[in-house]
């Protein structure tokens, strides 16, 4: 669990709890969506009801890594206290095949290419709607960097 007490230091909370989880509680981070047992649809983020058949879906990891479908580096005034500039992109997730939007580790902003490999992480990045520092899911290089949280 991230976002809770960690030794003597209180980590900031996750922006949206439950967006990412560690596989088996201690493996790599994965994005968590929903899988519908009735129609087989997989979606991200998780939903209360399946949009395709209104079935009751189960929470399920939808991918821990993937390749960058596209990206950009935003150089205007950053919202939510995000770094200036900050990078975002769509990633094609291994396994589920979902193409999902997310932040990219700001350290990678100058070295992005379509198709590159990334993995899911969780970083202290920006603030929430109330201005409190928080953890956001990110895509980062497949080799973990020092900015990783919660090791």
């Amino acid at each position: 669990m991230t976002g809770t007490m960690c030794g003597d230091v209180t980590e900031p909370a996750e922006l949206v709890p439950g967006l990412v989880e560690r596989v088996n509680g201690r493996g790599p981070y994965a994005l968590v969506g929903s899988r519908c047992p009735d129609c087989g649809a997989t979606v991200f983020p998780s939903v209360v009801r399946c949009p395709y058949c209104q079935g009751q879906p189960l929470r399920q990891g939808v991918g821990a890594a993937g390749s960058l479908y596209t990206y950009t580096v935003v150089r205007t005034r950053a919202p939510f206290g995000l770094p200036e500039p900050y990078a975002v992109g769509y990633v094609d997730l291994d396994g589920s095949g979902l193409r999902v939007f997310g932040l990219i580790d700001p350290a990678m902003a100058d070295e992005l290419t379509v198709g590159q490999r990334v993995e899911v992480g969780l970083m202290r990045l920006g603030v929430d709607g109330q201005g409190r520092p928080c953890l956001r899911p990110v895509f980062r290089s497949e080799h973990p960097t020092a900015s990783e949280v919660g090791r």
């Binding site: 580096v73 935003v74 005034r77 900050y86 193409r99």
Partner: protein
């Protein structure tokens, strides 16, 4: 379309920074001009639609359309306030056409207005509660990512992207209502500050204050008024949100256009003049491809070859488009149809597309799951 609908009147304010003019007064002025243009009295209008996207959020105001129509002396009629992001105005137009087709009224009026040049505006997004917004998806980023992918898949160049701005800014010089009335060079577009790679500031439409109005009517009223521009199709659709979305072969865009072509009984070869939603340069290029003006992937080449410039065979955004005219969200979808009407009447002055007989207006709004939340097409004929 069952029951022909005609354009009876058009009116617009200038677009741009207008700190001393209220939203109400902007909207009312556009309405006055449309009434005068149609040559009708307020009492001749049977229903009113007001389009606006941001005033609730920015000013805490509600049911603004009632105030606008009241200022025009229009009371005791049905009035509805409509919001559909950047397609708010064209959605209102779509509903106005429905009201005429249903036989509810002979004459409907649409006013779209927005006041955005205020300190509290902030960055536009798809809604403050959306996960994507919380993860940093500002509107320019959404289109920048489409641009990056288009470049990667098709070899589209930054010069081709920038050429859309060069073209539309050159058109804006000819439009007295446009916010930007000076030309820019390719070098200036590329050298302007980077907003979201590869899109620079001059590849992003400016925010603006402004209003536009339209009056539509039944065939019998059109005959009485001498109005001769007909609505061959007015469509509204939403995204499919399938995952994965192909962000450079925009299925929602293509299907929305195809539906309008089918209703109007026309194809891309028939179009004389097009207004499309060039919120960012890449958007116009993607819309070329969705409209079938060129094969997928060749939109960059199309603009570079001058095909879509005034004087080319498929002139797009001769009004200056959003890039030069400015983008007061609630007004934009209305103003596109106003511009087509000017063109089809042959009243567009220095930017007239000679002999224009058939025009198409295309608008998109909102961002959801790498798709659009709303899309409208209108096909008008002289």
């Amino acid at each position: 379309m069952s029951g022909e609908v005609y354009i009876a009147g058009i009116g617009s304010t200038a677009f741009g920074r207008q700190p001393d003019v209220s939203l109400l007064e902007l909207a009312a002025e556009a309405g006055r001009r449309a009434l005068a243009d149609a040559g009708i009295k307020p009492a001749d209008v049977g229903i009113g639609f007001f389009a606006n996207a941001l005033a609730g959020k920015l000013f805490g105001d509600l049911t603004i359309g009632q105030n606008v129509f009241a200022a025009l002396g229009m009371s005791r009629l049905p009035i509805a306030n409509v919001e559909n992001a950047c397609t708010s105005g064209s959605t209102a137009f779509y509903l106005a056409c429905l009201a005429v087709r249903a036989g509810e009224v002979d004459c409907a009026m649409v006013i779209g207005a927005e006041k955005m040049c205020v300190p509290q505006l902030g960055l536009l997004s798809s809604g403050d509660s959306e996960l994507d917004t919380l993860l940093g998806l500002v509107t320019p980023a959404s289109f920048a990512m489409r641009a990056r992918r288009h470049m990667a898949e098709f070899g589209t160049t930054v010069e081709q992207l920038a050429q859309v701005s060069v073209k539309n800014r050159s058109h804006g010089v000819l439009n007295a209502l446009a916010q930007f009335r000076s030309e820019v060079s390719l070098g200036e577009v590329l050298a302007s500050p980077m907003i979201a790679d590869p899109l620079t500031r001059f590849q992003s439409c400016p925010i603006a204050d402004g209003a536009s109005a339209l009056i539509v009517c039944s065939e019998s009223m059109a005959r009485r008024l001498g109005a001769r521009i007909t609505v061959r199709a007015a469509t509204l659709s939403t995204g499919n949100y399938d995952n994965p979305q192909d962000m450079v072969r925009w299925r929602t865009d293509r299907e929305g256009v195809e539906k309008a072509y089918e209703i109007a009984g026309v194809g891309p070869a028939d179009l004389d003049v097009i207004e499309c939603h060039d919120a960012f340069t890449i958007a116009e290029i993607l819309h070329y491809e969705a409209l079938g003006l060129c094969p997928v992937g060749e939109g960059g080449r199309l603009v570079a070859e001058g095909v879509t410039a005034l004087g080319g065979s498929k002139p797009v955004n001769v009004s200056g488009g959003l890039l030069a005219r400015g983008h007061p969200v609630g007004a934009t979808g209305v103003e596109q149809i106003v511009e087509l009407t000017r063109q089809l009447r042959g009243n567009a002055g220095a930017r007239q597309v000679h002999g224009a007989r058939l025009g198409l207006a295309h608008c998109m709004g909102g961002d959801r799951a790498a798709d659009t939340k709303s899309m409208t097409v209108a096909v008008l004929a002289a």
